[in-house]
């Protein structure tokens, strides 16, 4: 859907999308990093399960919600991607139960 302009330079950041390794350019927001990685959709809706992707890139549409480092409903267009970040596409509504148990497992 998007491609990166050639010869931009800059540092590379390593992160994962649903466990798969990917790279981004330092300074990318998570949403931009996902678009650049060739991802088609970042979540499915809680109402009908329809796929959605970033729409406004400026924090108003809430279509780019993903799970970042175990926390759901993050607006990926407002958050800079960071080294080692674990990004997961979100299925339906954010699940407090799964986030809570994930935290418990880690502890």
């Amino acid at each position: 859907m998007f491609r990166r302009l050639p010869d931009l330079g800059g540092e590379t950041v390593n992160f994962t999308i649903d466990g798969r390794p990917a790279t981004a350019r330092l300074g990318d927001t998570v949403a931009a990093a996902l678009l650049a990685s060739g991802m088609e959709s970042c979540r499915t809706t809680p109402v009908s399960g329809a796929p959605r992707a970033p729409y406004c890139m400026m924090g108003v549409c809430f279509e780019c919600l993903v799970t970042i480092n175990g926390i759901g409903n993050r607006q990926s267009c407002l958050i800079p991607v960071a080294e080692g970040m674990a990004i997961e596409t979100q299925k339906g509504a954010r699940s407090i139960a799964s986030e809570y148990s994930a935290k418990g497992d880690a502890a």
């Binding site: 859907m1 998007f2 491609r3 990166r4 302009l5 931009l8 330079g9 800059g10 350019r25 300074g27 990318d28 927001t29 931009a32 990093a33 678009l35 650049a36 088609e40 959709s41 809706t45 109402v47 009908s48 329809a50 796929p51 959605r52 992707a53 970033p54 729409y55 406004c56 890139m57 400026m58 924090g59 108003v60 549409c61 809430f62 279509e63 919600l65 926390i71 409903n73 267009c77 407002l78 958050i79 800079p80």
Partner: protein
Amino acid sequence: MKTIKDVAALSECYDLLVIGAGPAGMAAAATGAEQGLSTLLIDENPAPGGQIYRGITTTPVAAKETLGADYWRGTDLVRDLTASEATYAPETTVWSVGPAAEGPSDPGRMEVGVSVGGAARLIQARQVIAATGALERPFPIPGWTLPGVMTAGGAQIALKTSGLVPDGRVVVAGSGPLLYLLTAQLRAAGAKISVMLDTTPHENWGRAIRYASDFLRSPYLGKGLKLLLGAHRGMRIVRGITAIEADGDSRVRSVRFRHGSKEEELPCDVLLLHQGVVPNINLANAVGCALDWDDDQLTWVPQTDEWYETSVKGFTIAGDGAGIGGAESAALRGRLAALGAGHRLGRLSAKDRDQMAAPVRTELMRAGRGRRFLDVLYRPAKAFRVPKADDTIVCRCEEVTAGKLRETVALGVAGPNQMKSFLRCGMGPCQGRLCGLTVTELIADTRGVSPNEVGGYRLRPPIKPITLGELAALPKTPAAIKAVER
């Protein structure tokens, strides 16, 4: 300028709090700090610039001509801000603004809920300037929720911040000067745009022509001609578009459109939509500012005085959030707003304030010349504001269609707030940002009354989601604890 990235590092109280680091916010913060006011500038994004100057200090797009001279003009605003004594808090969200419950008797003193990296706090401000800018007008067509369909502004942000260009078969659709600007920028960056679908209604030209003389003497003319001529080179433009539909399964695959009596379908990988920008009034609405329906700009506009103070004392709106005027006008209005706040805080006499404001007002007059022509010419067509097809999604979050809304109006539901309890429209995470105008206009149209009579969503804080954990961690007043004790 001092940068703060930790909520605990913020002061208890600022003379002036500015929300949004676009042109209006940067100018307001610099002007406030210049008067010696303790000034805090809060912004959601990682770097200053707002949307029009998005990524101006960080963009990897080095070739100046790609984004154009108007973009790089933002550099001056950043320089003034950086040189000022203002405090700047990036990646920080304001989720509520309300009257401060306690503290010195300072009329207009506000309590502001802010959040940084998952930690919330309440701070106070003696004056607040909201420079929350604009957002792209909703563009409800069948299939606009499909992945691959984006706002043209969204694609521009991806270009500015990350050097990304849409790939494959790219179609841009809509109307307005920004559509041409965004298209030119994307093409200059190497995007191949197969077709532009121009939805500007033919009859708008007849209405706009009487405002043409101002436009012909304005700086818009030269810029507009350059963009129009450029657009014609190497790209098909179809004018007089009356219907657009995006089709696909897991993402957009094709776009269907009608012009005159002809219908066409083209394969499409990325569809970029844009039909102008409207004030982002969510915060103003939640604060309780009086809003009026503007029949020219087809949107809600906050009532403001000549210093942009709203009906809520101490709460000022600068820039496009108080009515669309463009980046240059926004910066000037930011300066005026800060001068007004400085006077109310006793820092400037009325005489000094007016003297400092005079040259700014002259500039503002000049910057606004020709605007009316553009507003009338690019007034978006009704077909793209009030969707005819019943299966068109209006509320993207709750997936409420135009047909469902019309059915519910027929049941006797008279306004957007009742509509919430019937259909949940406007109650998803975007809080009506992407459907508010459509729902108001659709109800008005179905009932045959004016949008002003129908009204808009009544919004309440938090205007951005915060977690229960953040709320629970906030300090409570004894009165608040008593209120829930038994």
